[in-house]
């Protein structure tokens, strides 16, 4: 049981980092997709929405092929490292954050933009005001992004390799213990997984609901 903590810690580190990178990509991209006017916008939006349902094993396959020793990015020597898991999880959660960001901003009254501009907002100030206005659904987007990767097992297994002490995360450990019939360990790991998922979402919900009665 002693390795429960490092496994949990790695799970948290990898999935939180992947979620944050997804936020850095998804918030601006979702904003452009929601507010921009350019040809191909709705096509891009439908690609992103499809990406929200990407099967993790397909992402795992794709990232594994890219990072494989003989693959195009093989020289980076990333396969079977935590970095490989972060890459795969980012590909899984970025479309979730992007798509839900776009949806959150499209729900706002389109005339609000005119009103903000009419009060002297620069483009950046207008976008910041809209983000602030949509903070609840934007935090929900972040929670959904985190949820999509902390619970994911296929990609982590394929690109991380479930190497003990190196790339073993909670979900891959649960699969392994279950396959060995070690149900007690599997249950303990599951309890950890549920607990940290709850704690992270709880923290985000507290931020989200602050100032609401």
């Amino acid at each position: 049981m002693a390795d429960l903590f490092p496994i949990t810690l790695l799970s948290l580190q990898v999935s939180i980092l992947a979620t944050l990178i997804s936020l850095l990509i998804g918030l601006p991209l979702g904003t452009i997709l929601a507010l921009g006017k350019f040809p191909g916008r709705s096509f891009l939006l439908s690609i992103v929405n499809t990406g929200m349902a990407l099967p993790p094993v397909v992402v795992g396959l794709f990232v594994a092929m890219m990072l494989w020793r003989s693959g195009p990015l093989g020289d980076l020597r990333l396969i079977y490292t935590p970095a490989a898991i972060i890459i795969a999880q980012t590909i899984i959660s970025a479309p979730v954050v992007t798509g839900l960001t776009a949806a959150a901003l499209q729900q706002l009254n389109p005339r609000l933009r005119l009103q903000l501009y009419g009060l002297g907002a620069s483009r950046a100030q207008m976008v910041l005001s809209l983000w602030r206005e949509a903070r609840l659904p934007l935090l929900a987007a972040l929670m959904a992004g985190f949820g999509s990767v902390i619970s994911e097992v296929g990609a982590s297994m394929m690109v991380g390799g479930n190497i003990r002490g190196q790339t073993r995360v909670l979900t891959t450990a649960i699969v392994l213990e279950t396959s060995k019939g070690e149900f007690e360990r599997a249950i303990a790991l599951s309890a950890f997984l549920l607990t940290i998922t709850f704690l992270v979402n709880w923290a985000l919900t507290v931020i989200q609901q602050r100032g609401r009665s």
Binding site: N109, G120, R132
Partner: protein, 239 residues
């Protein structure tokens, strides 16, 4: 008198349709121009064009004699109030101060100035309340305070009272009239209510099918409609 805003040879198309065509329109400093016209006449299109929120295909809009201001610079000299108050999910005070925030005014100053205008619009007691929990009339008062706090050179109002019931509307109209008289803010007030136009406007423009058919003192316009279409619009709307 100097024209604060002067429009020449303006043409605006939306979805390839010409919806606004104005040869000349000037608003003098301190004037309150009421723009009336039926649904679809192009009033809101004119409003958005004057706020530089809609591109025009042809023509010039001179502000204080110049048309070379950047869009941001231009917009920071005007303020607008729309039919819906469009307040943000924040306190009433924060809402009233938002335009000052955009201009980089420090929080203490902007809060004080917002407080003053909330007081002036009769909603100071709501300053700390969430803007989500206001009635329609209260919201529109906050929206007006949010505009006046900017001390705009030009105030643009697009049917600000349309969604309100008539007693609320009448009271707000009187308060607005008093503030406009006191500050001599140059104003363009769009409405389809002729009584409101007459009450508030020092001049009145009648828009039909994207064109200004007549412009003059309200009494003058009512007494001598420029053409049959204006007469018909005034007649059917009043009758």
């Amino acid at each position: 008198m100097t024209a604060l805003i002067e429009v020449r040879d303006l043409l605006v198309r939306r979805e390839k349709q010409t919806v606004l065509e104005i040869e000349h329109l000037a608003v003098q400093k301190g004037e309150v121009l009421a723009v009336v016209g039926p649904n679809g006449a192009g009033k809101s299109t004119l409003f958005l064009t004057l706020a530089r929120l809609l591109k025009h295909e042809r023509g010039t809009i001179h502000f204080n004699g110049t048309d070379s201001m950047s869009t941001l610079e231009y917009r920071r000299r005007i303020a607008l109030v729309l039919q819906e108050p469009l307040l943000l999910d924040a306190s009433v005070r924060e809402n009233a101060a938002i335009g000052l925030g955009f201009r980089g005014i420090p929080r203490v100053d902007s809060d004080r100035r917002a407080g003053h205008w909330l007081e002036r619009m009769g909603v100071a007691h709501l300053a700390d309340r969430s803007a989500r929990r206001l009635s329609g009339g209260e919201s529109q008062r906050v929206s007006l305070a949010r505009a006046f706090v900017l001390e705009p050179e030009l105030l643009l109002l697009d049917e600000p009272f349309t969604a309100l019931d008539s007693p609320t509307r009448a009271r707000l109209l009187e308060d607005l009239k008093a503030v406009l008289a006191e500050t001599s803010t140059t104003t363009i007030f769009i409405t389809h209510d002729l009584r409101e136009a007459e009450r508030l406007g020092t001049r009145m423009a009648v828009m039909l099918n994207g064109r200004v058919h007549q412009m003059g003192e309200p009494r003058e316009v009512f007494a001598h409609p420029a053409d049959a279409q204006v007469a018909e619009f005034l007649g059917t709307t009043l009758g």
